[in-house]
Subunit: 219 residues, 2 copies
């Protein structure tokens, strides 16, 4: 794939084959990051390598080494955007107004998170990556992600007091763990622990079960 500018030039000139690439470093960098993200989202981390990214970005892998210092740096660059994921993916004003209890809040946030994760293949791959490998790359991604998630939870909680006598951190970890595994298993095989997760009806069942689970602990 060429730069957008390069494509425009070629099309305008009526050229049939890509001759030269426009010398635009920042555009190339963006193309590389975009290619890496798409590749990771579509193919998964299995075949995620320098060659594959360069091939998809339509540039030489040498540039990845030069601009990002290799795959590690590129992954790090991807992880840098991860902090804004929640902000980009979930409406900020989704809660806060009609949520009277902590249970209301967590039910809402759980469903929002479920929905957001379902619709973001890149994030799904990253989560799957986190539980499959333990390299330094993945650790960075994982930390960025969980940090952003925690901040999101705190921000949404606002001044709402969490229930006493309950290990909120542990319970919430379990809740979000269930959501993540459910979505990952569904994306991979269309089911989770025997529960089919394909059409919208299946997901409605899962959503009501999730609500019930959250309501069970948080009143």
């Amino acid at each position: 794939m060429l730069n957008e500018t390069a494509m425009a030039v070629l099309e305008q000139a009526g050229a049939t084959e890509p001759e030269k690439r426009i010398r635009d470093r920042s555009a190339t960098e963006r193309a590389i990051v975009k290619a890496a993200k798409n590749l990771l989202a579509e193919e998964g981390f299995q075949n995620f390598g320098i060659n594959a990214v360069a091939r998809r970005a339509g540039c030489d892998k040498q540039l990845i080494y030069r601009y990002y210092g290799g795959l590690n740096g590129l992954v790090e660059a991807i992880g840098a955007d991860l902090g804004n994921w929640v902000k980009d993916r979930i409406p900020e004003d989704a809660g806060g107004m009609f949520l009277l209890t902590y249970g209301d809040l967590m039910e809402r946030l759980s469903l929002l998170f479920l929905e957001a994760l379902r619709e973001d293949p890149l994030m799904r791959r990253i989560v799957a990556w986190e539980v499959s490998e333990n390299t330094e790359q993945v650790k960075r991604l994982s930390e960025a992600r969980s940090k952003a998630l925690g901040q999101w939870l705190d921000r949404m909680r606002g001044s709402l007091a969490p229930p006493k006598g309950v290990d909120v951190a542990a319970v919430n970890a379990l809740i979000f763990a269930s959501i993540q595994h459910l979505v990952l298993a569904a994306a991979a095989g269309g089911q989770c622990a025997g529960l089919a997760l394909k059409n919208g009806k299946d997901w409605e069942k899962a959503a009501t079960a999730l609500k019930r689970l959250v309501r069970g602990v948080y009143g």
Copy 2:
């Protein structure tokens, strides 16, 4: 690695270097399967290939093609044992006697499953594999596993009536999903959604949170 018999012979003879391999097909087959299991458990599915298995089994990869028809057949052979996992790993009489309600049962089973999964690296890798890839191999493993799990649940339930008005299948799927992701994340990075999971104390917290979650839905 050589056959056990071969090792014995060599040691008895005082040989320092492995000269020949005993011609024992079934022993070699067992060595291959064992090597594959250990490799998968220790290294994960990332570097799980014909060459690596053969190297660890101490035999030529050609034998894997001959005896199992390639990696697929070998994985299938591994998956065949998976049906007995619950039986091997979890005490059969663990429930049934003092469990009066469905909530008692599920609390017990959840904790048993959590414990069993924590102590089985091979099974953890397989679960991680399931949510990371969608090949035919993995599908077979996944099906065998979820089938065995479902049968186990049914068997342990016995004649205990599940609560009405609750989508038991969906709720249980979420519960087991949470356990699986918790254990996987812990094994990979020592934490899950910001919750540390390293020493026994951490796991006690997680266990009580899990109990609370289960008790919340199932009275």
